[in-house]
């Protein structure tokens, strides 16, 4: 028997790997020093821990350790990268290129700059698989463009963007390239050199590390990237991010990166297997299930599907022993269905019917079987209760119906 509840929402956050917890523990107690204390062993010991973590993280993304700036998470890293570049390079230009399916940390940073009159932003569309066309990026570049910001992999549909191609275009045009790689780092190969990335955001809690710690990679050479900090203070992190370092968190992030680097290939293969098994089970047992995202260029643990005629929140309610998430309006703070799914150009109601499964390190094949069966049973039950399913089965074209809206 599987143990309930089952956690299958690993894009939202991940449980910590016990090996990461072990690495962190001493830094809460005997190694509690402030990494900025220069004159005693407590400070040096803490700094050693931070230095080691910086190396571990840098090596996972093929960066130099001095290029890693610690932050409170990817949200802060995205803010720092986008606002910091736009502010610093304001004499050079004010144009930013991003895409419509980015995380809110990127989109809202861009919107804030627009509102403040500090930037003009181009939001590129995506294709039906959620992928940005590098040609669109190229065409959007003007002589005022200072930054391109495109994510490595999408947090809802798992689609992996052609990052290396976008990086090449950015280099060719002499524009800085920021990549929010929060969902990519540790799961798929990310190499700032090969991919031409100048700034990169990542977060520990997505890769079995602690919450509240992230990094911004800032390229030091070819080109040397400059930034205006958004947090002022004691001048930590080369003046780019002031504030006493979260030493245990940083040590944990380092350990998480080291494990991820070592085990990535094997883990990706295992997760892809589990994900494909889940997908196959659902598609075999149910009709009218639609895949959201790219069929191939997709994160190994991601499966985002729409079960037509079933509203997402009601499905989540029915499978309460299984933690997954939905793009339904009812599950979002804004009461709007997922802007990511809507950007794919599918029918609006399929956004309400979308469910995101996020498989992770600790999920098992038994759990996948259990979840597939639970979801199948519940979708069937809810379809028996759904007027839309009934109408569709009667052959009524739902698009031809005049709906009575409020």
């Amino acid at each position: 028997m599987v143990k309930l509840p089952i956690y299958m929402d690993n894009h939202a956050t991940t449980p910590m790997d016990p090996r990461v917890v072990d690495a962190m523990l001493p830094y809460f107690t005997e190694k509690f020093g402030n990494a900025a204390s220069r004159n005693h062993s407590f400070g040096w010991v803490a700094e050693e821990g931070v230095d080691k973590a910086r190396n571990q993280i840098a090596s996972l993304i093929n960066a130099k350790s001095k290029e890693i700036i610690f932050t409170s998470g990817a949200t802060e890293s995205d803010n720092l990268a986008i606002k910091g570049v736009v502010e610093f390079y304001k004499d050079k230009g004010n144009h930013v290129i991003t895409c419509v399916t980015e995380h809110k940390a990127v989109l809202d940073s861009c919107k804030a700059l627009e509102r403040a009159g500090k930037a003009a932003v181009t939001y590129l569309p995506v294709d039906k698989y959620g992928m940005v066309d590098p040609d669109d990026v190229r065409k959007a570049i003007t002589d005022k463009t200072v930054l391109i910001t495109i994510m490595a992999a999408n947090n809802e549909i798992g689609t992996i963007h052609p990052i290396a191609e976008i990086g090449r275009i950015a280099k060719e045009k002499g524009v800085l390239f920021h990549c929010d790689a929060t969902q990519g780092v540790g799961k798929i190969p990310v190499d700032v050199e090969k991919m031409g990335i100048d700034l990169l955001s990542a977060s520990a809690h997505k890769i079995y590390g602690p919450k509240g710690v992230g990094i911004l990679y800032v390229r030091s050479k070819g080109p040397r990237v400059r930034l205006t900090p958004i947090i002022d203070g004691g001048g930590h992190e080369r003046g780019l991010r002031s504030g006493t370092l979260n030493v245990p968190g940083i040590v944990g992030f380092g350990a998480a990166c080291e494990i991820a680097g070592r085990e990535m290939e094997q883990e990706a293969q295992r997760l892809r297997g589990l994900r494909d098994q889940l997908q196959a089970n659902l598609f075999e047992r149910l009709d009218e299930v639609f895949l959201n995202g790219h069929p191939v260029q997709r994160l190994p643990g991601n499966l985002n599907v729409s079960f037509a005629y079933v509203e997402g929140e009601s499905l989540l309610m029915g499978i309460k022993d299984v933690a997954v998430s939905s793009g339904s309006a009812c599950t979002s703070a804004t009461l709007e269905p997922s802007y990511v799914i809507r950007a794919l150009g599918t029918d609006e109601e399929l956004a309400h019917s979308s469910i995101r499964f996020g498989l992770g390190r600790f999920n098992t094949a038994e759990e996948v079987d259990f979840v597939a069966q639970r979801v199948t049973d519940e979708v069937r039950r809810l379809r028996d209760m759904s007027p839309l399913y009934e109408m569709a089965k009667e052959g009524i074209d739902l698009k031809s119906v005049e709906w009575k809206r409020d």
Binding site: A329, D347, K404, R405
Partner: protein, 140 residues
Amino acid sequence: MAYSTKVLDHYNNPRNVGSFPKDAVDVGTGVVGAPECGDVMKLQLKINQEGVIEDARFKTFGCGSAIASSSYVTELVKGKRIEEAMAIKNSAIVQELNLPPVKIHCSVLAEDAIKAAINDWKTKHEGRQPQSDQGKAAQG
């Protein structure tokens, strides 16, 4: 967000799920909401010659609170005269199910469904445009 016990009860054991033949003279059908808004309710009422609601069925596409609202409404209207049913306010549903503010629209939809179903029955009964509404949402 935690659901109230009553919402959970209706969601897990929905009352009166199903359909009546929509062309039957004694059946009034109301379909309200829209798929792209994330909720559609179909409520059917079987109403006798005296204007008393004898039975009710529903099918709902929507969140748990929408399902619970329609399920509760099928119980609420049974045995009521159509004038009484027309007077049911969404606040009665909110109160019974303990709906939070973000779910009030579910109760509004359920109230609309009652009115739409009764109006459909009235239209049929007055013998006016008996079948001209086919294809429209009101006919399901």
